[in-house]
Symmetry: D2
Subunit: 348 residues, 4 copies
């Protein structure tokens, strides 16, 4: 079967291929072995051990779920009490693009204004204080968690200093901090990034290491750095329909991703290719909408430009900015080759 988009270069998202070949090879090697289900197999345990090591969090509990929305909905519901909500950027994935999965679990998303996809420690503190000082706060949704994405939905990064400030606010307020790492490989590989996996493990109550958008067939690895953070999380995962029967399929993928630096290399390829494209765009006079240093490039184009380039390059349409301009997105991934970039640049 031919690729249905063969005529156009595919830069619309970072999950257009199957998976990194090393993963398929490992799935093939192990395919006929027999193992117990639900993540109790040896591969899943090996993956957990490697993730603990990478996070320098030997006590961490690690669970593998299938996708991002599922992971967010399950972790947030597990960590909040029924009367609590989750603070997020108005542009946060949980606030916009999860079809109400958080509300399906009974929780309000308490949105804060964003700058380049990020929210600040100051605004978080003001939100929590505002709740506490409100005479009617017992009639209101209590902030129980802060949700961040690293990188954000706009490809930007929280600096270590920003993340530490947010973590401090959260800990002082007794509010959990949770980081959505759907594209975490692309943050970790970014020269501008100074937040490491051990930093996340030190500063967050929970985070997930993305697989689906970072080279796996599917799968996200939830990390609770502190043992016992969520009692009975296994059952909560099951109740949310998120428990994989053949848990080893996720385990093998994450074991592979965390062997011999594969997760790092996946991120690096996307970052190097994105940097080349970004430089070319700027050279050709395109206007970058958002200063994102990771694998997502946001470009403000005239409608005509978007249409013309769109004939040759499959991009994502983000939003109509005004009558004449649109924000478009180009994504690179682990699978983006130098030749792909050459061809793209030749069209600009």
């Amino acid at each position: 079967m031919p690729n249905q988009n063969s005529e156009r270069m595919a830069f619309a998202s970072d999950y257009m291929e199957g998976c990194h070949p090393a993963i398929l090879q490992r799935l093939t090697e192990t395919n006929l072995e027999k193992s117990a289900g639900y993540g109790t197999d040896a591969y899943s345990e090996a993956a957990r051990e490697k993730i603990r090591a990478a996070c320098e969090a030997p006590e961490a509990e690690v669970f593998f779920l299938a996708g991002g929305t599922q992971t967010n909905a399950t972790v947030i519901d597990a960590m909040l009490r029924s009367y609590q909500g989750v603070i997020a950027a108005v542009s946060g994935h949980v606030a916009v693009h999860e079809a109400g999965a958080i509300e399906f679990g009974g929780h309000k998303v308490l949105t804060l204004e964003q700058t380049d996809g990020k929210i600040s420690a100051e605004d978080i503190r003001a939100c929590i204080d505002g709740y506490r000082l409100d005479d009617n706060h017992e009639h209101m949704v209590m902030p129980g968690m802060v949700y961040l994405s690293q990188p954000t939905e706009y490809g930007t990064l929280y600096s270590l200093r920003e993340l530490e400030a947010i973590s401090t606010v959260c800990r002082e307020a007794g509010v959990s901090l949770y980081v959505d790492g759907a594209r975490l490989a692309y943050a970790l590989a970014c020269p501008e990034n100074d937040v490491s996996l051990p930093d996340l493990a030190r500063l967050c109550d929970a985070f997930y290491i993305g697989g689906t958008k970072c080279g796996a067939l599917f799968g996200e690895a939830v990390v609770f750095p502190k043992r016992g953070t969520v009692p009975h999380f296994f059952t909560i995962v099951k109740q949310h329909g998120a428990l994989l029967a053949k848990g080893r399929i996720a385990g093998i993928q994450f074991e592979t991703l965390f062997t011999d630096g594969l997760y790092d290399r996946i991120g690096e390829r996307a970052i190097i290719t994105a940097a080349r494209i970004r430089a070319a765009l700027q050279e050709k006079g395109y206007r970058l909408t958002i200063p994102s240093p990771t694998n997502q490039i946001f470009i403000t184009m005239t409608n005509a430009e978007a249409e013309q380039l769109g004939e040759k390059v499959e991009m994502s349409f983000m939003e109509q900015m005004d009558a004449d301009h649109a924000m478009m997105r180009i994504c690179t991934s682990w699978a983006t080759s130098d030749q792909d970039v050459d061809r793209l640049i030749s069209c600009l």
Copy 2:
């Protein structure tokens, strides 16, 4: 990494391996092609078309989800109104082993007594009539759906006549009929079975064709035979955290399963090997607890027998029947070889 259960023969479940090799081969062949996400790719469409053909339901809507509990929770929540519940056997998967996923969606499971895992048209009718005739029925949960498993959790089969009777009761009462086909391949391949995919499409409002337990890495194919049964099901799937970003991974698997009769062959292998084991058990004087003709064999053993055989053969412990006896389960699958069976029989 060695199989952690290498010393014992593995007959505990039908999802102990990765997947049928043909699926891995196909995933490998197509791996680097680029495609759109969320099931809008050509492979998913091809799989849908093949499933429609196999079901003789050209108008059917088909969706691919990751696992069984997720599928049940999403379909049941999508098809019920908020004040409705789902009728199921007390032994039904939704009633026992989904950690309250149906209740998480707000719905009560209305349980009926079972015989060999099955419920009858008469009992369903009595349940619905009992509700309707109750003076207080407006204070009660309205039956809105009937949930069956084919084969059942005890490996038994609804006959075509039984299914037709249940379907008639449901249609007369305006109650949906939904069949959980987690192990459907093993029903379809069973000589005792007279319910075909077209029969399911004709008699049910929704059903799913199991992948996870029938040779796929993961995945279940939900079939709504009648177009428009559930408006906006795509969004409901997303809201339930059940939407696969790389939908094509499920699509490729189901396309492979429904090409050249693979799904049939997967079922047949399990049925042939189960029949051999069953015959040997009976010859050796073991007592089969339940007359199941499919790939699950339930055996009443003394505790000593269970322990002794358990040293060589990994089985599932089902329940302690009395102080001295346990119900054990042996499962075959697409991956069970004749040699596996020979070895098992030699231990009986």
Copy 3:
């Protein structure tokens, strides 16, 4: 406006009148006073103090809600974790007649067989042990609470010994014990009863003292004997739509009910009149279906008897027992006069 049931004597339920006249008088006396809302007024506090005294539970937290289903749904959801269910008799109000309110909150009702509306400590223990010993219990709903009704839906009573045994099982298992006292006045006033309010406070984690069926316009008083049992219960009540703006209306009612023994007298009247009716029924050869000593009398009648008596006396139809017999219910209340009873007996 005439009473629409004026021709027939009204014995169908215990909430057919407005409220005990002392309550209306007190509401009238205080009507134009101004007070703060949401139960922060002095009347509500006085009522709480009197209930604490009656329960000999000086630390108890007391909240006033509007009705029984609302109270059950709110308390159960507040006390269970998301993955837990509530154990109840199959005949329990939460299991049958709350239209799925418990499931709306995401929780399964785990039903046990009943005898005269009651469940036993042994069966509760077996249920909890069965869960714990099940190899698959992590895939199942965890019992997190036991729900009892005192008196039960069939008018029967748990003895102190039975309640102590159940409480012991619950505490050993770390499972909450909650008692629905919708008709508690009628238990407390019953000579056969040996469970006092202080006993309930000592043995339960939560219970409610019924107002709606015991002489109030509406209202139930939730008692948490141990302070801090449910943090933020006020907000949970609000989230469930169960917070009364004019909380004082409930407060004034309960203060009145717990002043000068009114709640006791309300119960006594119903018990005395029920006893007279019960004796007359037995004398006339009627068969009492259930040995209930409280204000609900269940009678097995032939269809013809039910119809004939029904022409003069409004009863509740409970269920069709077989083709020829029905179970009917006669209820007395605080408002049942001796003359009412005389007239009823004259019709038997």
Copy 4:
């Protein structure tokens, strides 16, 4: 028992008293009559008939619930499909002060910026169009209803022209329109108001006529102008814990409110007294924060002014506007006497 706020004049809210004396009188007159429960009594039916007449909506279905949050949560959950959310002002009661009751039912509140508590037809249309035109709308929460308050939380009014424009947008888009009339009496009695009950019945899919804040002990009357709008609403009310056992208590109250123009008179008293206070405030140089013509008066005071006046007058603190200024609220009600107003004015 003395009023605990006797030293200060009570202007903090419009639900500080019991109820209009005519209601208590009627409850007393009918108290010992016997009637069926759950709103099936003759008083409830009479109240429904009077409301239908007042709304000129002879086919309307009318239900009585206990309070505002409960009513909003029940109606919104009943009218939305699971994947839909409700559009509301950021200042809407459902968005801020219901402790997440809408999210508890699984629905997102889609907030729009407000002006004086109101949202515009244009912004509603833009929100709906924005959803529909978004490439990712299947991953987003679908707008399924518009929620307005009349009067708003800031005491302002939608004009008939504004309401008609909103209704037109809703009907063109297939989105329900629901109006929260917690303080509807104070809108209807306001000279500036041109939206009548028949207008609401003509333009909305559902609305409620407030009792709790408009002279009743408790209670809100939900009106579905078009019969069959929500099938099985009775059961949905029960499932939400919102069904009153003694439904007649609400029925008698609403029958009284809609007899001899009582509901109008209740509103008028509040409006006349508010107008006097508002005029006096302006004369004395106070700055009204919001141009509200109904019974809520919002005043921007210096902190010192607020403290000083607060010693004599109990007001509501709304929010701290800047370091030096606070927004305070004074409320009148049906119970506000001319003497109360005289005393208040003398303190300004």
